[in-house]
């Protein structure tokens, strides 16, 4: 029997009254909250799915309840499975699945912070919002306006406020630290030079993008906001959002647009990996490698500007296609640059690998064992470096990836060197993909002019960002999305850091943190903008060392 029927049977076996409908590559099942845990176990462990994310939604204006969507993914068969449960509007409480699915930890707490859904059977804590945020103000509820500014007294969080069971001296890395490019806070507990435990406190730059997308913007405008979720991997967020709306509304975009999207996605992947390689060797003190990697990356940035009009935040994506076309001259220029990049990159990687300190410090550090990687559902090069063979471009093909052949590099050691090698290999694969795409580029328009977006449709869209799989979940509304949930890849990878940093020397901590390629702008999502248009940043942690 085919795989979808198998899922339907599995779900119905646990909850016979489930309301199931299938659309495209997604199985939607509405179930009662009492059967949620059994279903989660059946899908996550028995059917061997991965956990993508969970999204809470305020649907009181539609059906009178709060809803929580748990999204699972079956990569081997290219399916998404969405479990929907309702929560009582007056006292929203749902059973937690975190002991069955450890990867669901953060998204449950996010639903609690932003929507007020309580979870029974687990330890709850404040994740996204700062500790001084008023207790009963839930930003994602529909009655809360997007520009509400509560009266708060900014207070500080103390070192070691989690619990006192950790041993050792607490070393703060962040919120400001030269090794980090964005604000986040890692508290490492060290004994001598060895890290014994680590606590993470992030979300310093939560910007309330989902609320913005649901209140103030129109469908086409959200593309540009989505692109600015991240400065390095922004285009894939924009593609993921556009694909989600196109999937929900049933819009079929022209083939040429799909190819152009894939080409630019791969260009972005090359630039992102080159950036990461430079940063990784910089953290090891080898600045020569850093400078030369970025010198090679400059070629890629120039062709990105030539193809899209801007070095970063390309702005060519719209629902219905792309805004800029490729002509023969640009195609030739891209091929020339790719040849240069490939040659210089090979030479540079060979040189870097010969520097004795780099190999000694990359090998055997920051190990993430395969079982932990599976439990935490990590994504991207972090997963592929630990032996998990996951790549959304191959498993759930989107855009033009169905037309190209490529390998997915997987290494088994789980240390920093494996993740490094995965990214090096992916650069070569991306170059090969771009060449294949340019070869097969079909003629035709690049944009659909007329289309309709009906209300009340749902879709899950998954894209392979340079850092892993990125998920956008949308419910369409009138003129703008009703609910837009973004789960960036780093969101899924950070909980793995706790495993990777244990028992490692302190010197390798920044490198290990960097090896998951953290993109905290993607992970967090508040800027308070006052009426003059100037941004003020919430400053939750005033750290003082005594």
């Amino acid at each position: 029997m085919d795989i979808i029927s198998k899922y339907i049977d599995t779900i119905k076996a646990v909850e016979p009254k489930a309301d199931i409908h299938v659309s495209d590559d997604t199985v939607y099942a509405t179930v009662s909250s009492s059967k949620l845990r059994d279903l989660a176990k059946a899908i996550y462990w028995d059917m061997n799915c991965f956990f993508r994310t969970c999204a809470g939604s305020d649907e009181r204006s539609i059906n009178g309840f709060y809803a929580l969507y748990h999204i699972f993914g079956d990569d081997n068969n290219g399916l998404n499975i969405v479990l929907k449960v309702y929560a009582d509007p007056n006292n929203p409480t749902l059973p937690s699945i975190v002991d069955i699915v450890p990867a669901a930890d953060w998204c449950e707490m996010e639903a609690r912070d932003l929507l007020g859904i309580e979870f029974s059977g687990r330890k709850q804590y404040r994740l996204i919002l700062p500790p001084y945020w008023p207790k009963d103000l839930y930003p994602l509820r529909k009655e809360v306006s997007y520009d509400v500014k509560p009266q708060v007294i900014i207070s500080s969080e103390k070192v070691g406020f989690w619990d006192k069971t950790s041993a050792g001296v607490a070393i703060p890395i962040g919120p400001y630290h030269p090794a980090l490019h964005e604000p986040e806070y890692f508290e490492l507990y060290v004994e001598g030079e060895s890290v014994v435990d680590v606590r993470y406190r992030g979300f310093h730059i939560h910007r309330g993008i989902e609320k913005l997308g649901e209140s103030k913007l129109t469908y086409q405008q959200v593309n540009f906001v989505a692109e600015r979720i991240c400065g390095i991997c922004g285009f894939e967020h924009s593609v993921c959002y556009a694909q989600a709306i196109e999937k929900a509304a049933g819009i079929e975009i022209p083939e040429r647009a799909k190819f152009i999207r894939s080409i630019v996605l791969e260009v972005e992947r090359i630039h992102s990996h080159l950036l990461w390689i430079g940063v990784a060797v910089h953290l090891l003190g080898y600045d020569t490698g850093f400078m030369h990697t970025w010198r090679i990356r400059e070629h890629v940035m120039i062709i990105a500007e030539m193809l899209t009009g801007s070095r970063k935040t390309y702005g060519i994506n719209l629902i219905g296609g792309v805004r800029k076309d490729i002509n023969e001259e640009k195609k030739q220029r891209v091929l020339d640059v790719l040849k240069i990049v490939e040659k210089e990159f090979t030479e540079l990687v060979k040189t870097m690998v010969d520097v004795p300190q780099i190999m000694k410090r990359l090998k055997g550090t920051g190990i993430l064992p395969r079982e932990d990687a599976r439990k935490l559902s990590v994504v991207g090069p972090t997963a592929r470096g630990s032996g998990l063979d996951r790549d959304v471009r191959r498993d759930l093909p989107y855009a033009a990836y169905g037309y190209v052949d490529f390998n997915v590099p997987v290494y088994d050691d789980g240390d920093n060197l494996s993740r490094f090698l995965v990214r090096v290999d992916e650069v070569y694969e991306s170059i090969s993909i771009i060449r294949q795409l340019l070869d097969q580029l079909p003629q035709g328009p690049v944009m659909i002019e007329e289309f309709d977006i009906p209300e009340g449709r749902m879709a899950v869209s998954v894209v392979e960002a340079p850092r892993g799989e990125d998920i956008h979940f949308v419910i369409t509304g009138r003129g703008k999305p009703y609910r837009w949930k973004v789960r960036a890849p780093t969101y899924q990878n950070i909980p793995a850091l706790r495993v990777m940093l244990r028992d490692q020397p302190l010197a390798d901590a920044p490198l290990t943190i960097a090896s998951i390629d953290p993109c905290f702008s993607c992970t967090d999502r508040v800027f308070i903008v006052d009426k003059n248009g100037y941004k003020k940043r919430l400053d939750p942690i005033l750290y003082r060392w005594r």
């Binding site: 129109t218 702005g315 210089e344």
Partner: protein
């Protein structure tokens, strides 16, 4: 490529000198040299005030609200472009019906006087021939008439007067009162 493919040698790191020698110095002496922008670069926009009709299509399309329709004097509508908010996406150029907006490659826009960053295009409003109120813009009226000549009858009535006229016409046609 796997590690085995890369043959490792003891003194391989000296190859960095070869790489550096071959690439020379890549620093660009900006601002004493030209910046590196291609011909496709999207810079700020330029609004042609002779073509703009004040329709507000660009205002609707602009994601960061850099373009706004504001009231400068009683009833006069103006299009204000604030470079400080512009993200250079050029969506306004896409949607402008008259092609009044042109894209440039300018990005060196820093200034210490914020009024430099505002472009304001003031439009002459339409005056309602019945109640004398000011509404919309004259040019918009002319543009709508060229697209659809039928509307010439009521393009110079403000929306309230237009609605009253329509309701009166229904009243006359079907009798009864509109309450």
């Amino acid at each position: 490529m796997s590690l085995k493919d890369m043959r490792r040698s003891r003194l391989g790191f000296l190859r960095a000198l070869v790489i550096a020698g071959r690439s020379g110095r890549v620093t660009r002496r900006y601002p004493y040299e030209e910046p590196l922008v291609t011909s496709d670069f999207r810079g700020k926009i330029d609004i042609d005030e002779t073509k703009c009709i004040g329709c507000g299509a660009c205002v609707n399309a602009c994601p960061p609200n850099a373009l706004e329709l504001i009231n400068t004097r009683d009833g006069y509508i103006s299009l204000r472009y604030f470079v400080g908010r512009c993200i250079f996406c050029w969506r306004c150029i896409d949607v402008c019906p008259t092609g009044a907006i042109k894209g440039t490659r300018e990005f060196e826009l820093a200034t210490d006087d914020i009024s430099d960053l505002y472009d304001i295009i003031v439009h002459e409003p339409n005056r309602c021939r019945e109640c004398g109120k000011l509404f919309s813009t004259k040019r918009m009226g002319d543009y709508v008439v060229t697209k659809s000549p039928l509307v010439e009858n009521y393009v110079d009535l403000d929306p309230d007067c237009r609605r009253n006229r329509f309701l009166k016409a229904i009243e006359n046609r079907f009798g009864g009162r509109v309450g």
